[in-house]
């Protein structure tokens, strides 16, 4: 049985349709990704799963319950890390964890050691008694993530969890998420970092304009929507446009980005040799394997890092 099941899930703000009849299922213990450009409807979907945004249409069950009519019960099993930190600015860091645990109805004798453990995980032990307003952006993010774990959730909703984290903090989080996954926790996450999606997601959907445009495992999506290899060449902003015509002749699909041109081809090295043989002289060039970023570009026509 799925832990999350959405059928025709729709959210309208006035006349504007933010989420347009999407359907998906998430299996227990799976880690499921929502990818999509800014404004695609990812956060709105996350909020509907937590029952904090009312859907306009469709059905949704989380652990077999409708989050709209059973919000408190559903959220008892949910850990929510929203895109924008919703920390309690009037409380200190440690109190944020304890008070948040109290909202779940958790007892103090559980929360005190738990808060210390989570502070350590967030590397905020020294800041335990600091006011939230005195924390840096990344520290607030870490505290928000730690807070989402206080009720030992079965499903963790992570909306761009690592935005604003330094590389070390990001790897600590990934490590923790892997361990939670081993314990059977279901992960639902959005991210704009494709390496993160490839690392963490068993399966993902790409959303654009509130609709699901592709679904599958990261590797399967890459095979389906991109070539095995990609050649990236730069000619400098002046020459990129004039090169487009020549390059388009050389392979099936190219993408012209503001700073570089991508050529999709299963045999990248051979293609690059050909480019050099013709004396096109790119300023820089490289051959790499296709990634989710290429899938994203193909499906949404937009580069992920806006």
């Amino acid at each position: 049985m799925s832990v999350i099941e959405a059928r025709g899930l729709t959210k309208k703000f006035g006349d504007f349709t933010a989420v347009d009849a999407i359907s998906f299922e998430v299996a227990p213990g799976e880690s499921f990704g929502l990818l999509g450009p800014n404004g695609a409807g990812k956060s709105t979907t996350m909020r509907m799963i937590g029952g904090t945004s009312l859907r306009t249409d469709g059905t949704l069950t989380v652990l077999g319950l409708d989050p709209e009519t059973h919000g408190p019960e559903v959220r008892a099993s949910l850990g929510v890390v929203p895109q924008q930190d919703s920390l309690d600015e009037e409380l200190r860091a440690r109190d944020n964890l304890i008070v948040y645990g109290r909202y779940f109805g958790l007892p103090m004798d559980y929360l005190k050691p738990k808060a210390d453990e989570l502070l350590e995980f967030a590397q905020l032990t020294e800041k335990a008694n600091a006011k939230v307003s005195a924390l840096s952006g990344g520290m607030k993010r870490r505290l928000t993530i730690a807070r989402g774990l206080v009720n030992e959730p079965r499903i963790l909703l992570l909306d761009e969890p690592t935005t604003g984290l330094d590389p070390q903090a990001r790897h600590i989080l990934w490590d923790r998420l892997f361990r939670l996954k081993e314990q059977g926790v279901t992960l639902v996450l959005t991210t704009h970092f494709m390496d993160e999606a490839e690392q963490l997601c068993d399966r993902l959907v790409v959303i654009d304009h509130g609709r699901i445009v592709a679904e599958g495992a990261p590797q399967a999506l890459i095979r389906q929507y991109s070539t095995r290899e990609v050649v990236e060449v730069r000619f400098g902003s002046a020459r990129n446009a004039e090169m487009e015509g020549v390059l388009r002749e050389m392979t099936d699909r190219i993408e012209v980005l503001p700073d570089r041109i991508l050529l999709y081809d299963d045999a990248g090295e051979a293609l690059l040799d050909e480019i050099n043989r013709r004396g096109l002289n790119p300023l820089t060039s490289l051959v790499r394997r296709s990634s989710l970023e290429d899938v994203f570009l193909r499906l949404t026509g937009r580069s992920l890092i806006d």
Binding site: S53, S86, E90, L91, D95, Y110
Partner: protein, 279 residues
């Protein structure tokens, strides 16, 4: 899959809750109140003190200053009383109103839109009703502190003459409850900070007209009826009667007005909870 772990008993309790609450109430407003007291403990007391000093300053300026010009005025029972005695109970009623409106409109709107406090609360097992009840309780608690402080000041100044004045404290809470619950319902319709500016546009004339600083008999009769329909006038009259321990047939009417207003306010706020918290 058997349910284990620290949340198991909580999930079990929430699962047994009657369905009519429709996911709005988890029976844990206590946690919101606990948070309120934790904030008060860490807050600097200056913030809290301002709410106390406002009516005191009014009393000093108007009661002492204007009072020197006005002299004695007829009290609720027709006996002459000093002008300060006349306005002190009215200022208590007004401060109960202002505090309640500030907490249920400005504060709630800010916490919804800007500080994201309620967003954080509602990511947990709390329901909107838990949040609303907890916040109204905290507003009433602050109102209680102000009322006690103000009553102590006016008692020390000799402006109350009856033990009935002690009842001004629960009455201040009743006034606050009426305004806070209705205020929360009104907030659910607010979309922008500009709309909040409309609140003083309503409250200030009500304060000036509601027999706070002079009797409403100065107005033509139709306007008097209009003022008597407003809540603050009932609060002011009730407080004034309590301050001297004089009651008449209207006393219960004033109390009933606020009881009805609170029932309507709580009902309206409950019906608007989804629109208020779950946008």
């Amino acid at each position: 899959m058997s349910d284990t772990g620290v949340m198991a008993p909580i999930r079990e309790r929430l699962g047994r809750r009657p369905a009519q609450f429709g996911g709005l109430y988890a029976g844990n407003a206590r946690a919101v109140i606990e948070r309120g007291f934790r904030v008060i403990r860490t807050q600097n007391w200056g913030v809290i003190a301002t709410g106390f000093f406002e009516p005191v300053f009014y009393l000093l300026a108007m009661g002492m200053g204007m009072g020197a010009l006005v002299g004695a005025v007829p009290g609720p029972d027709g006996q002459p009383i000093s002008y300060a005695m006349y306005i002190a109970p009215a200022l208590l009623a007004t401060s109960a109103m202002n505090g309640a409106i500030y907490d249920s409109v400005n504060n709630v709107f800010f916490k919804l839109r800007y500080s994201k406090l309620y967003e954080g609360m509602l990511q947990t097992s709390l329901g909107p009703l838990d949040v609303a009840l907890g916040e109204i309780f905290m507003a009433l608690f602050r109102g209680l502190l102000y009322a006690i402080g103000f009553l102590a000041v006016i008692t020390a100044m000799g402006l109350v003459t009856s033990w009935w004045a002690l009842a001004m404290i629960p009455v201040a809470l009743l006034i606050a409850l009426g305004f806070a619950s209705l205020g929360m319902a009104v907030t659910s319709f607010m979309k922008s900070f500009q709309q909040l500016d409309l609140v003083p546009v309503v409250l200030l004339p009500m304060f000036l007209l509601s027999a706070t600083l002079f009797p409403i008999t100065v107005y033509p009769e139709p306007l008097q009826w209009g003022i008597m329909a407003l809540p603050l006038w009932h609060g002011v009259e009730l407080m004034r009667q309590l301050s001297v321990g004089y009651f008449d047939g209207e006393t219960l009417g004033h109390v009933a007005y606020f009881v009805v207003m609170s029932v309507i306010g709580i009902t309206a706020a409950s019906l608007r909870l989804r629109q208020l918290f779950l946008r």
